[in-house]
Amino acid sequence: MMTLALTKALLLILPAVLLALLVLPARPWRLPVAIPAGVVLAFAASHALPSGILAYVVSFAIMGSVYALLSLGLNVQWGYTGHLNFGVAGFFAIGAFTSALMTVEAPTGVAAQYTQMAFGLDLPFLVGVATAALVSALLAFLVAIPVLRLRLDFLAIATIGLAEIIRLIFQNERWLANGPQPLRGIPQPLHCLVQSQGCEWLPTWAMALFEPLSARDYPLIYLVIITLFVAVLYLLVERACRSPWGRMLRAIRDEESSAAMNGKPVTAVRIQSFVVGAVVMGIAGALYAHYVVTIDYSHFHALFATFLVWVMLMLGGSGNNRGAVVGGFIVWGVWSGTAFLANAIEPLLALIADDLPRRAAYFRWLLVALLLAAIVLFRPQGLIREEKRVSRYLGE
């Protein structure tokens, strides 16, 4: 007989092992240590933590993973190629809305009066994610053509504008994604696992495994899905950045003219890396949409979706994929932690002025802005430095 805690522990093993792999240094003993550590962590978390706190930790980890993916995508663009993309929010939004429009069932009858949307194809989750990646890539390609052959500061201006325009489109165009109203009912993958009748295609013994779960435990399953995505994309990006292609990116970033002189197709490669980064961001958007179920334009504000991601990458270490992911989780932790801080200082603010407590949330912005300024001024290389040598075949 499966108990709830045991099922939770089994689901938590994969995320916990991956977390251990992320934190431990890259030594030969990393994998043999990480697996038992992850298993112990998973059982400890599911048995010792009260379910409310565990649920919070899981939701924190899911959002952290979304941001880790955004940071990873930005690392391909900025860390490896030096693209100043100030429009992360745009690609994030495109990914989220594309996947949502592909997977949501178009409303009929009375519901159609309240929800207007294009597409509504009711396709499977993975098709939605793939379409999100594709559309995001296409958008990046279209932006890259006029802008990337020019100075790099123009890219920053163009992308910050593009993200704002994308947000405006999703805010104003009712026919596309229900205008300023939120788009609801984005399907969650494998949601049948937590429902009482279970998934039809699942063998009986596996059904028994998931039987204790109820609908409110669904985030656990989503955590497994999203950590799989993070792990696979991380490995792919890491592999690409250590390949000759990745070394070419760094060469173009550091010495564009030398790279060009050695016959590297500078413009083509810069466009490629911009598109690859945008694909990762688009996937992050899709995963975000399927997690939160309801999205609207306000989720893709430049603060949450561009600025925080920049802080994450700069703090973690640009040019280092592990740094990007670690930075994503740390800054998401800081951001979530300051929410408590904002609550804590409210009585203090009430002493200064009557209006201030309601605006306590903006002190979080202030802190994060100061954090980025401090990183830029005092430690632009971030927590984990970029590795000078990335090839396995090069000795010390």
Partner: protein
């Protein structure tokens, strides 16, 4: 990261040797006339669309008049932007926040001053221009203080351009959060509920008196900038530094002093632009961010570091933006500016008044 400047990339418009046909075509496409033609075509297409949608010529003319006014507002902001871009060589993303800050400073100072009678037909009393005159140097000082604390450190470290841009993004969010904390997220009006009926000018153009005031003030400030840049020592030093910082330093120009003045002037003009934008619509914390893209588009269109070019670009963008509102939601203003900017980047990245190669 070596970034090739435009001069390096440009195909020289060959005078001495015969150019290949491809080069000749490219030089033709990249000429100023071609860019102007492209912009004119865009405007013509917009006017035709508006006509098809049944918008009358008189309304279009009124829209164009408002566009000139909006262009004045954008222009005031983009002069500061282009000066900073020219002298310090980085895109200052916090300039939008300076615009907002100026508008809110004026708002607060008006509340402190004694209220005068409205100067009919204008909607405000004498305290409004006085408050503006106080707010302008204040924002200039804020801009200079930010430079002292953040950008000067980066200059000392010889930091790369992108770190400046990133620091300016951080400062944009810093200033914006301060604005939110000080004034809250709600909309404000300088004079809530005060009527400001439209006047009817020749050709049946209907504009409000406030809008004429905005235009007049923009013109006066532009003339002031012109006088400053052309007639004073600091203005000449500023243009020299924007043109070639090393050469300026060799000639004994104190670049730090020039930079400080650039921030003060840029901040003051941004404050004026923000205040006028607030007068023409309302004050909200995101107003400067909304204007940021049009300001950058104007800066690039006019050629980076060229204040007169920025003004011309701002007027083009303002008029185009207003004409498109005849058939498109006005919130798409940044999109209009973006399209114009992409056209400029495709045709002539150095802008209308930038130096061509060779």
């Amino acid at each position: 990261m070596a970034t090739p400047t435009h001069e390096e990339r440009e195909t020289p418009t060959a005078v001495t040797r015969t150019a290949r046909p491809g080069e000749r075509a490219r030089a033709l496409v990249q000429s100023r006339a071609f860019l102007l033609l492209a912009i004119a075509v865009v405007l013509a297409v917009l006017v035709v669309i508006a006509q098809v949608r049944g918008v009358g010529a008189e309304r279009l003319l009124s829209l164009a008049a408002w566009g000139v006014m909006l262009g004045g507002i954008i222009g005031l902001g983009s002069i500061g932007l282009t000066l900073v871009y020219g002298v310090l060589k980085f895109p200052n993303f916090s300039h939008g926040a300076l615009v907002t800050l100026g508008a809110y400073f004026t708002f607060t100072i008006i509340a402190w001053l004694p209220q005068g009678e409205p100067l009919t037909p204008l909607s405000f009393g004498w305290e409004f221009p006085v408050a503006l005159l106080i707010a302008m140097p204040l924002v200039g000082v804020v801009a200079m203080a930010v430079d002292r604390v953040v950008y000067r450190r980066l200059r000392r470290q010889n930091a790369h351009l992108v770190l400046f841009a990133m620091a300016s993004l951080a400062m944009a969010f810093f200033l914006r959060s301060l604005i939110y904390i000080a004034w809250g997220p709600d909309f404000h009006f300088y004079y809530p509920g005060r009527p400001n009926p439209a006047l009817t000018l020749p050709f049946n153009i209907r504009v409000r008196a406030d809008q004429l005031f905005i235009l007049a003030l923009a013109l006066v400030l532009m003339l002031g900038v012109y006088a400053l840049l052309e007639r004073t020592r600091i203005g000449k030093a500023m243009r020299a530094t924007a043109d070639n910082p090393e050469l300026a330093q060799v000639r004994g120009i104190n670049t730090e002093r020039v930079i400080a003045w650039t921030w003060i002037i840029g901040g003051a003009l941004a404050a004026a632009g923000g205040t006028m934008y607030g007068l023409s619509s309302q004050l909200r914390p995101e107003m400067g961010f909304w204007l940021l893209l049009p300001m950058f588009a104007a800066t690039i269109m006019g050629g980076i570091g060229n204040p007169y070019g920025a003004l011309a670009g701002a007027l083009i963008i303002g008029v185009t933006h207003q004409v498109t509102t005849a058939f498109l939601s006005p919130t798409y203003g940044p999109a209009v500016a973006f399209v114009l900017m992409v056209i400029v980047l495709l045709v002539r990245p150095q802008g209308l008044f930038g130096r061509s190669g060779g």
